[in-house]
Symmetry: C2
Subunit: 362 residues, 2 copies
DNA sequence: ACGAGTGTTGACAACGTTGACATCCGAACG
DNA sequence: CGTTCGGATGTCAACGTTGTCAACACTCGT
């Protein structure tokens, strides 16, 4: 505590010293509440409450005295107590469960969502599930106990029936990216099938017939849709054995990298590769970018530097997804009680250099 | 809604029925609390509480009855009430203020932080300030009213004296990326000076003498450190007029793009460019990647595809920053009450292709 | 048979806030 | 001068939970 002795003339030094006296500790004397403020101002606690909340019927002079007492004490209203008193549905917390909020897709989605709800005085609590079903369960419970006003879920679970009771109790759920199963709730989803179909059609058009696919965890519905739709398009074009060049469960960049290497070592190797999300595309790029004659590549999800790298992608707008999610959610909070609505957002193929590589001497 | 009012013997039947039909709405009949559970199980509310919390001294049979009642009612403990009862410092919320949580730097930092605190049963509330000082003020207040257990701040404000009272009241603050001013609090920072110095030295070594700098908002301390340290190194090498190629306040990608174009149009144009953060680097790349003979480039912050693009960067580890932040924060929550600690994390220059471009015929 | 333990349960207060209602005071009105 | 009115303030209960303490029903050892 005696620290910071060297009398340095630097501004910072002084500051450092000043604080050493009152470092935060666990044994604080309890924050002042309305009671303390009221006592100090010499009024009843109700009057103090009125004064601080700007209700009418408080004498000007009284209000000033209360305000001053509050300032001196460092009073800060206790939001929890207020919410408790006002009854459950005044919480200002919105919960969001995502697989990995470090992933640009989720973080942009969350960011877009947060920007919208912020204007309503709502705050976003985000938690990573790490795509783990048990985590998801536990964290959902924690958020619900915290009485979040609504819940945004990018779920990994195969079913959401366990949430039915909560849903009936009036907590709005909005599922993002992955649809609810066994529960009728709002959702904001991507046109995965459409996007995957476009990708396949694009490659077929360019003459590719041996196309590798690297997919994410096979249990995720998004991945299933992208893979099966892509495959269906290939099959429709007469490529029956498309599954032979399919590798799934490449959930992280390293695994994706290995999967791509695996595909390339085959004989004959695919002349094009479809990667079903941004992480996998990244892994693929790590492998392909140093090859003299890499196969064509199409990835699902836009990449930060997609245009500069010249990677053909099936793109969409995560921030907009966040905004749409906010819209559904806020309408529920505003009283809309109709049937569940699903918003399916479009995807768009952006052809760039990486798909212009011809099938070559396959 | 008309259904199931008919005389059912079950106490709660009416409510259950009501729920089965309708979508979630604002007019819910109030969630069941301990009172309802206790009534249904035929015990006192204290016994119900004991049973559900797994305290000792509850008969096996009683516990089962309570549990069943709770399940049937869809009971969920009210975390707010619990925290209120238990006294202020049991909140499980950690607040985090960031400029833009859609930026990979912040989102990775937040993700790393969240992963650490999650194991302690803590949840992270993140809010975007959009680098706006008024937003930051308001949102800080909101988080503090919500009684977050600790606050992580990437601040835009020039001073943090207004937080002193809170700090004394025992709320741990951890400043990230940008240091506290007028307040002695923990912080996790980057070695901005070191990194910028390395960048400058690297370019000088390669023979560059006319170097452009594109910086972020000039009021941000991080940017100031990076710019001034870079400049100091240039000046020490005899380049006195380095400020002539300095453009600041390029806060978004578009502005950065224009700034770079501006630099390139000069005569003579700089033979190298230093960009002080990831957004600006992105803007620069958009311009440079289609030039036949672009200037050399070094950027602060790693890029997702930095290795593939061959961009020389001054890198660091945002996720690790998040972990370090969590460490300081958790130690405070565990009772550490010593002086403020600043953790300065190292940065590292990764030379790649973009800086290997020679000064040319400058 | 009696006090001491042990297991089980309940009544009550309190956390900090606010809505409902009551009270008090002075001014305006008939 | 009594009545009414409205502004200003206070009292009380309640939100849902848990800690404290007391009470009860047993069993056991003496």
């Amino acid at each position: 505590m005696i620290a910071c002795l060297p009398a340095s003339g630097r501004r910072r030094a002084g500051i450092l010293c000043a604080m050493t006296e009152d470092a935060p500790g666990p044994h604080r004397p309890g924050r002042p509440g309305l009671v303390e403020v009221a006592a100090r101002a010499g009024v009843s606690i109700k009057t103090a409450s009125r004064a601080l909340n700007g209700e009418g019927y408080v004498a000007h002079e009284t209000r000033q005295r209360v305000q001053q007492a509050a300032d001196e004490l460092g009073y800060r209203a206790n939001g929890m107590a207020r919410e408790l008193r006002l009854g459950g549905n005044t919480s200002t917390l919105i919960g969001m469960l995502g697989g990995d909020l470090g992933n640009p897709f989720y973080s942009k989605l969350a960011s877009g969502l947060e920007r919208e709800v912020r204007f309503r005085g709502l705050q976003l609590v985000t938690v990573n599930t790490d795509e783990d079903t048990r985590s998801e369960q536990r964290l959902t419970d924690a958020l619900l106990e915290r009485r979040v006003r609504a819940l945004v879920v990018a779920s990994t679970l195969p079913s959401h029936e366990h949430l039915a009771a909560e849903h009936r109790h009036g907590i709005p759920f909005v599922f993002v990216d992955r649809p609810p199963v066994g529960l009728s709730a709002d959702a904001v989803l991507l046109d995965n099938r459409g996007g995957a179909h476009q990708a396949a059609a694009h490659l077929l058009e360019l003459g590719h017939t041996r196309i590798g696919i690297v997919g994410d965890l096979s249990r995720l519905s998004t991945n299933q849709e992208r893979v099966t739709s892509f495959g269906a398009t290939l099959r429709a074009a007469g490529i029956a054995d498309w599954r032979e060049h399919l590798i799934e469960d490449a959930h992280d960049v390293d695994t994706a990298q290995r999967a791509v290497l695996d595909l390339l070592r085959r004989d004959p190797a695919p002349t094009a590769i479809f990667t079903t999300n941004n992480r996998i595309t990244t892994g693929a790029l790590r492998v392909l970018h140093r090859l003299p004659a890499p196969p064509a590549l199409i990835g699902f999800d836009e990449l930060d530097m997609g245009d500069i790298l010249g990677v053909t992608v099936v793109t969409h707008d995560p921030e907009n997804m966040g905004r749409q999610t906010a819209r559904l959610l806020l309408e529920r909070l505003d009283g809309y009680a109709g049937t569940a609505r699903w918003v399916i957002l479009p995807t768009r193929l952006i052809p760039r250099a990486s798909s212009r590589r011809p099938p070559g001497t396959g």
